[in-house]
Structure formats: C-alpha cells, structure tokens
C-alpha cells in the first residue's frame, strides 16, 4: 500500500469501491467478468488501468491463469482482493452508510 501513514484513510474512487465489493463477493474474477457483472458501470477500456492502480495500492492482487496444453486462447489474469483491500472496503462501507444515514463518524 502506497499510503504508509496509517492515520490517513486510503482514498477510494467509486469504481474502485465497486470492484472491491464485487471481488469480495466473488473471490476471484477476470477483468472481463467484472465488466459484465457491473452492468455498464465498468468499461472494458478502463478496467485494467483501474485494476493496475489498485494493485499498486495493494488493494487487489492478480495471478496469470495457468492454461493446460490443450486449452486454446491466451492466458488472462485472475484478480482477487487482498487483506488490505478488505479493510479499506469495510472502512469505506461504514463511511458510506454513515453518510447515507446522516450520522457523524466518530
């Protein structure tokens, strides 16, 4: 995670929040799966740049899938949420809920 100062709340864009939520639900997913599941909120052209930035921030990690000898097509990356990503997601979920309910966050 690039924000080494633990006093700082890591920033999270709306798309990053959505990706973290989807990855927490599904466990692992390909970028294209995330695009399809998002119902148009995530775009094919920008998802991988966003995922790359999230990897830099330590929120997600990826592994290149291992294809068998007979499987056609190129290998793709499987993305999953990291522990840091789960923590950031929970903090932001709390903040979002508090904001929606009009409560102050102590």
């Amino acid at each position: 995670m690039s924000a080494k100062n633990l006093d700082e709340v890591p920033t999270l864009s709306a798309k990053e929040f959505l990706i973290l939520k989807m990855l927490e639900n599904s466990g692992t997913a390909y970028g294209l799966e995330l695009v399809k599941e998002s119902g148009g909120e995530l775009k094919r052209g920008t998802i991988y740049v966003t995922l790359g930035r999230m990897e830099d921030k330590g929120l997600v990690e990826s592994d290149l899938e291992k294809l068998g000898g007979n499987e056609p097509g190129p290998a793709r990356r499987l993305y999953s949420i990291t522990g840091q990503g789960v923590r950031v997601l929970r903090v932001w979920t709390l903040m979002k809920n508090a904001w929606v309910r009009g409560l102050s966050v102590a």
Binding site: L32, K43, G45, Y48, G52, S62, P72, R76
Partner: protein, 199 residues
Amino acid sequence: MSDPADFKELRREMRLEGLPQIPNRDDEGKFQDLVDYVNAMPEKYRDELLRDLEDKITPSDMGRLLRSLTPTLQLSFNYDNLVRHHSPKTQAASSRPAPSSWATLRNIIASLLSRRVVRPPGSRLRLILSWFYSKKTMEHVFNEIFADLEIEYNEALSHEQRVKAAWVRLRGYWSIINAIGLQSIVSVGKKIFAFLRPT
C-alpha cells in the same frame, strides 16, 4: 517437353492413353492420380491443363482438385489465371469461354481463406504499444485487453457470427484507445504527485 507445342503433343498422346483420366465421384484412386499428375507436371503447362479440365469436370470436383494441389501451385493458378479469368469485369473481354458455374470460384476463395495465416486480432497494435509502454503496463493493462478481445473474437467466429466478430474487434480497438488515454493520465498524475510530494 521443351515447349508448349511438345506438351500439346504429349497431352494428345496421354489422352490416347487415357491420361489424365476424368475421375468419377466415387473413384478416389483416379482422383488421386489426377492430383498427382497435375502436381508433377511442369508449371508452365499446368494452368492450361487446369483450364481444360474445368470444362470437363464438375465445379465441385474442380474445387476439390484445386484444394488437393500443393499450395504454391494452387495459388499460382488461382491468382494468375482463374480468378482474373472468371472475374465478371474481365469475362466479357476474355477470349475464353465463361465458367459453367460460380461454384468453382467460390470453392477457390473458400480454400484461399481457409489457408490464410491468421494472426490474433490486434497483434500489430500490440507490437507498436510494446515500444511505448513498460513491460509491466503491457502485462497488466494492454495484454489483458488483447486477451479479452481475442477470446471474444474467437468465440464469435466459432459460432460463425462474422458481424459480431467484426463488432468485437472494433470494440476491442476502442477499448485500447480508452486505455491509452487513461493510462497516460495516470502516468502523468503519478509523476506530478511524485514531484510535489514532500520528502
């Protein structure tokens, strides 16, 4: 067989001997004889023979024969003679009789298409991008988009949905353009952040 006149003479002799024999549909042996005969003959006489054969065998058998020939022979004949000769624009000007059916030409085109060297969509663009972007950016951003493009494109083609395949290709290129734009913004943003960040 030093010149065409000799060859014509030889062919006359061969016809007397029954060669090349026009094969029946069920006679695989004779068909293979014909293929071997055409494959083995000197190139400069081959086209003439193939044209003559075209008048004698069915269009589908002609297509089958052309598909059975060695690729270089087939390509030479297709491009230099048959396609030009059978083209609607040149047919009127041609001194040779028109083909009995377009099926022959369709077979040839199909065989040409089936033998084309097919590259994954966007392979040239990937090569160009790899000159400008780091290995990490290529692996994490662009290769992923190209992989999605290839998978969706192949899926569309496997269902013979050519229009969808073309659309997938177009959409893939648009995604690449978007990624280039966003990646540029992110890179510049990172550099500005690193520059302004207090040490």
